[in-house]
Structures are given as C-alpha cells and as structure tokens.
Amino acid sequence: MRRFARSAAAFVALGLVLYAAVYGAAEWLVYRTGDANPFYKIATLPERRVDWVILGASHAMPLDFAEFNATMERETDKRIVNLAATGAGVLYNRFVLEQFLESHEAGAVLFVLDSFSFYDRQWNEGRFSDVKLIRRTPLSGSLARRLLAYGLAHGVPLTAALDYLSGFSKINNEERFERDVWEGEAKFERVFRFSQVQDRQRIAYLYPFEQVDAATFERYWAQFADFVAFAKARGLGLVVVKTPIPAHIGAMIPGEADFDARVAAFLAAQGVPFHDFSGVGNDTSYFFDTDHLNRKGLTLFFEQRLKPILAGIPAPAAPRP
C-alpha cells in the first residue's frame, strides 16, 4: 500500500501541473473571447478614471450593445463604462462597484433600478454562483478575496469562490470559443411581437411569488440603502433611473407603485436624483423582447432622457435637511 500511496501522490502532483497548464489556456481564452462580463471590462479598461459607471441588470445592458456606448460617449463627451449584468441585484452590483474602485476611479454612478431583484436571493447571492458569469471572469487576487469576504459577510455561496479559484467553470466552458455576448444583443435591431403567453411567462420568471416575502425584501432594501451610503462615502455622484417598459408589462408587475413610491421617498431623503422613465417612451415598437429596449427605443430614450443626465456629473449627494 505504501508504494501505491507514493505512486498516487506522484500521479496527483503531475496532474496538478497539467491542470495548471489547462487553467492557463482557459484564462487566455477568457481574454480572447471576453466582452460583456463586467469584470472582464474592469480588467481590460485602459483608463484609470471614467466619468460614469453604469450598473444594473439586463435593462441597462442595451446601453452597451453594438456601438451604443461609444455613441453616448461621443454625444456627451464623457467616458462611460457599463458594468451591468443579467439578473444582477443590488448585492452583485455593489460587489462589481467595489471591484471597479479597487483599480479605477469614477465620477458618478448611473444605477438602473429594477424591483424584481429585491424579492429573491437568486438575483443577489445567487448571481455569484452563475457559471455563465464565473466562466468569463478573469482571475484576480483581489476579486477572489472579495468573493470570500462576501461569502463570510453576506452569505454568498462559498462554492462560487471555490469555482472561481479552481477555474473549473472556465476550463469546462462549452462556449469557450464563442464571444461573450448576451443573446439579447443579437436581437437589438428587432421589433418584438408581443404575446400574452410570453408576457405572463416573463413576469412569472421575474416575480414568481404569490406573496412578497417581507423579510427578503427588507434585506435587499437595506442593501440598497448601504449601496447609496457606500457611493456617497466614496465621493461618487449617484443617479438612479428606471428604464422604459411597455405599459401592459408594467401593469403586470406586482406592487410596483408601492415600490416606486418607497424608492422615490428614500432617494429624495438621501438627496439622490431618481428618474422613473418606466412609463415614458414605451411604445411597444421600441422593444426587442418583452421588456428590453431595441435600438430605436434606446436611441429615443438616450436622446430625450438620458443624454441630459449623462452630460453632467452630479456632485456626491448630501441628505436634504
């Protein structure tokens, strides 16, 4: 058995060397195919300072589809980086912002707010375990440390840190040779043909509950308040917006009016500008799916609503007396 144990140890040692080589190749591919992942953008951003960091979930992502971000930069004469990610709630966005500020500086944050992420763990702690995000995230010591710290402080699954550090999802990435783009980008130019079935499916996906779990909501509300406080403490200007969504979709979202009222009251008290554009510029021809703006809708939204906001840099907010 002793000879067997020695042989097994040698086998494992050589295996680890080979694993490191495969890991290196997978990491190289992450840089070769990287695009939409927020951490890839942070790792490859040439400037140290940007004027705007855009955060949020998928509703903020079309702002970086095709050449749209470059257009916004040209039109506003501001350097903008979009770090939104699909399904990302407040906790994940806070993590992304902290990671960004580790190596960069920003003038202000544009936070694209969605209510769905306040109702479920999957949009917050759960996002960290999403292999689609992990497998496109470049290896970074500070990110690994932060992931472990979030595991201890916020209950982010430690398996996410294990997966990230081991590189397993990168090595095992079945889309390893494909560019990292969200599937929505391919539909950016399209006009969606709405159907009641798909509308209902979308709402059921984002708001699967019959009754709001108050404790869960308050947990993520507290994290939203922490996020605002964090931005202020770091001297960042902060603007919170809601993007347009079709009126009939908006009407299907449970408790949205109450949510909006609470957000408006809280942000007003914090001195943070809040623009609810969910009910404007929301003709159904402006969407490429049930609730994401297509190029036509986004162009209109930018020209009429977002451009004036992005053209200036708000001062860090102070609570109103």
């Binding site: 067997f4 086998f11 050589l14 080979l18 495969v22 090595i171 095992n172």
Partner: protein, 490 residues
C-alpha cells in the same frame, strides 16, 4: 446527491476512508448510516418507503426461514411479495391506471363527463423499482432454499439500501451480497485502482458522452411534429447511445464505488451494441441484472423454455411486456410507449425463435459465410437497428409521437440525400460523432481482450497518459451541470 457531482466524489472518499479506518465488525454500520444519509438527501420522506420494503422483507424472510410449516412459509412469501410489488404498483402505476380506466368508463358512459376515479397523488420514490425487485430475490431465494434467511436486520438493511446501488441497481441478489458484508476485506491497491478506473470510465460515459448527446436527442423528441427529419433520424440514433452511456455509466460508477469498499456487484452491461441478435442483446449484454431477474423470477417459474410451442411464446412475450411495464416511469412519463417497447422486443424474440431453425440450416449450408467478419458485422448492424427502432417508443412522450417520428422519417427517406447535404451540421454533431466513434472503438477493443487486462499490461506512461486524457476530457468536455441519470427516474 448525484453520482456526477463533486459532492458524491467527496462523500465516497470520506466513506471509503472511514470504512477502512473502522474495525471490521463495525464497517457495515458506517455503510448503512452512509446509505440512509445518501438516500434521505434526495427526499427525506422516501426513507419511509425504503424502511417499509426492508422491514417487510426482513420480517417475511424471517418467517420463511424459521417456520417449519409449509403453509406458513408460503403465506410469508406471498405476503412479502404482495406488499413489495403492491407498493410498487400502487405508487408507480395506480394513478396512471385510474386515469386510463376513467377515460374508458367515460367513453362507455359509465362515468359522467366530469366523473373521475380517485387518485393517490403519490410521488414515486427514487429507486423503488430497483430495491423492490431486490427484496423479491431475497424472499424467493429464501423460500426455495437457495439461501438461508438473514437473521441480522442491520446487515439486511444494508443489502437493500447500499448507496452505490440503491437508486438504479444493479439489482443485486441477496445470496451474493450478504456474504460480502461479513467479509469486509482490508484496503487493496489493485481493487482501489480497478474501482477508480470504473468510476472514471462511468463518469466519462455519463457526463462526456451521454450528456453531450442529450441536447441533440431532446431537439428531436421534444418537437417531433416540427423538427426537421434529419434531426429526428439523428435523435433516434443518438438516443440509443445516450441511454446506453447514461445507464451503463451509472452502473460502472456503482460497481466502481462498491469495489472501493470491498464489494463486488453484478455485471450489468457487456458491450450491448456488439450483440449479433436481439436475444443475445437481452440475455447477455443489456441490463443483465434485470434480464436475469426476469429469467429467474418470472420466465422460469412460468415454465421458461421447457414448455413447448405457444406456451413458450407466451412466456417470452409476458417477460418483455412486464419489463416494459417495469420501465414505465417518471422520466418520460408513465405511458403506453413502454408497453409497446416491451412488446416490440418480445416480437423480436418471437421472430428469432421462429426463424432459428432456418438460420441454423443456412449456417450449416454456408459455413464460410457464417464465419466471415462481414456477416458478423451485418448481424451486429441489423440488431442495433432493431434495438434503436424500439428505443423510439421508449423515448417518445407518447405512442402517437413515436408514430409521428416514424411517419416523418419514412416520408423523408426519398429526399434524404438532399436533406443531409443541406442540413447545417454543427460542432455538436461532430463532437457527438467523435464521441460515439471513441466509445465503439473502446468497446471493440474490450470485446477482444478486456480493457482492464490491457491497462494492467501497458507501460506506466501509457496508463497514466490514458488516465490523464480521461480526467481532462471530463473537465473540459463534461457537462457537469446537466441532468440526473435516466434510469434513476424509473
């Protein structure tokens, strides 16, 4: 906890270390605790079914062994069989049968349009089909005197619940398993290596081959009315390999894990797609532990092949229809498709029995043709196509969908060359083809000389290179976030 998860590998490692660290007489206790933990992880309430099967079989087995009156022994056997097979029938088939009966009664006007029969609404526990059949072997073998009844409830409970086999077999015989509990040998390097080889190969078949074929199979079978005919043909062929790799992968892991713990389980697969007849496929190569169960506990008691003429044909068909019924499960729904699949395979056996004298005469007249490699290959190919054809009824959601698939494939046969030329084959298809070619190459080599022997005789560098290739294929190509094993759903 699935076999294709990191959690299981960690669990197995921990149980193996604990097993050999303990004194021999306590090892079975650790295995029993680990097995109940493993089973309860899936769904805690299911433990009730496992305990019910264990206690009922143990009690009846005890009565069979310790009673001197033949009538009492027989009553104990009948009670044990009725309880366990009744439990299986009630949990697995009752709701489906009640639904079908209600349909018939409504059609016959015996039930109103809104009328229905009561349902149990029970969720069948994973593995019940397997451990219910296992305890049947114990009861029958104890009754017929093939083995003495087990007096130790704990060891018997381990036989029923042993975690490598509890979900999907092999359907182990008590008379071969229970003596091994007492043996509990110490760690043996050769057995450990053999066990790890099997686990690695089983994982490869499951997560690399079966789960990479699954999306192409689903693409065909999930929309039989709209999928292009080429998709349907590809899906039908690939399903034959998907189900083989999925199930034999599970079995290899189960046998490999058992070997690590000093147990030998029954061989369950022997390169089935190299069979030269459907009779050989079913009797010697596919799901051997189930086929031999049907042979020993249904076919032979019915008279087997000792009876002549129509009765023998009836026995064969009975075995295959009951086998179809046994397979009716959750994964692809309880439905008539499994019965059609069973009957179709029974019909193959009928055709084989009826034409056997003809083939014997032809073989005697043409001995060189009979011995030729080309004839051998032709028979293998023909058998494979018969089996793959029957799998369509197994995999399709309904019998109607199976016929839709067959009708659409048949309708496209004339235009097939053009369709294949225009079909946008992609990386997934080429990967699938390469994996199947690899699988068949390994199986052919194994058929000629067992791979384990070849590996043992190979230089260290070759062995290690193969091990690393398999491990890195698992890491790079494996679909670890994929599905549970198909046969865990039966």
């Amino acid at each position: 906890m699935l076999f294709n998860s990191l959690g299981f590998l960690a669990f197995l490692a921990a149980v193996s270390v604990g097993f050999y660290a303990l004194p021999r007489r306590w090892r079975w206790v650790l295995l029993l605790a680990a097995s109940y933990y493993f089973y309860a992880l899936w769904r805690f309430e299911n433990l009730g079914y496992l305990l019910a099967a264990t206690l009922s079989a143990f009690g009846c087995g005890w009565a069979i062994t310790h009673s001197s009156r033949p009538a009492a022994r027989k009553a104990a056997l009948v009670a044990g069989l009725l309880f366990n097979l009744g439990l299986l029938a009630a949990v697995k088939y009752y709701d489906f049968a009640a639904g079908q009966a209600a349909l018939a009664l409504r059609a016959g006007g015996l039930l109103g349009p809104e009328g229905d029969l009561p349902r149990l609404g029970l969720t069948p526990p994973v593995g019940l089909s397997f451990y219910a059949f296992s305890v049947v072997t114990y009861l029958v073998d104890a009754y017929t005197g093939r083995m003495a009844g087990e007096d130790d409830l704990g060891r018997f409970a381990l036989y029923v619940a042993f975690f490598p086999k509890v979900f999907a077999g092999p359907i182990e015989r008590a008379r071969t398993f229970l003596p091994q509990v007492a043996l509990a040998p110490g760690p043996d390097a050769q057995r450990i290596v053999a066990g790890l080889q099997l686990i690695g190969w089983g994982l490869f078949k499951k997560v690399v081959i079966a789960d990479n074929l699954a999306p192409l199979v689903d693409r065909a079978f999930n929309r039989p009315l709209y999928a292009p005919p080429v998709d349907l043909i590809v899906g039908a062929y690939l399903f034959a390999f998907q189900i083989y790799c999925d199930f034999s992968g599970y079995t290899d892991i189960a046998i490999g894990a058992s070997r690590l713990l000093g147990f030998d389980l029954l061989e369950n697969f022997r390169r089935p797609y190299l069979a030269r007849s459907t009779a050989e496929f079913w009797s010697k190569r596919w799901h051997i532990s189930l086929a031999s169960w049907f042979r020993d506990y249904l076919y032979i008691p019915l008279g087997g092949s000792r009876v002549g003429g129509p009765r023998r044909y009836f026995n064969v068909m009975a075995v295959f229809v009951v086998s179809g019924l046994w397979h009716a499960g959750l994964g692809y729904g309880v439905g008539w498709g499994f019965m059609v699949w069973g009957a179709l395979n029974g019909a193959y056996q009928w055709a084989g029995l009826a034409t056997a004298p003809l083939w014997r005469r032809a073989g005697a007249a043409l001995p060189r043709v009979r011995a030729s490699g080309a004839w051998h290959a032709l028979r293998v190919l023909f058998t494979f196509h018969l089996i793959a054809f029957a799998w369509i009824f197994f995999r399709a959601a309904t019998v109607g969908e199976a016929f839709t698939i067959l009708r659409r494939i048949y309708g496209a046969l004339g235009k097939l060359p053009m369709m294949v030329r225009l079909y946008p084959f992609g990386a997934a298809h080429y990967t699938a083809a390469a994996l199947i070619a690899l699988l068949l190459a390994v199986e052919v080599l194994d058929e000629r000389r067992p791979l384990a022997e070849r590996l043992a005789a190979a230089p260290l560098a070759v062995r290690w290179a193969l091990y690393y290739a398999a491990i890195f294929a698992l890491l790079i190509l494996g679909r670890w976030h994929a599905q549970q094993f198909i046969y865990m759903q039966f």
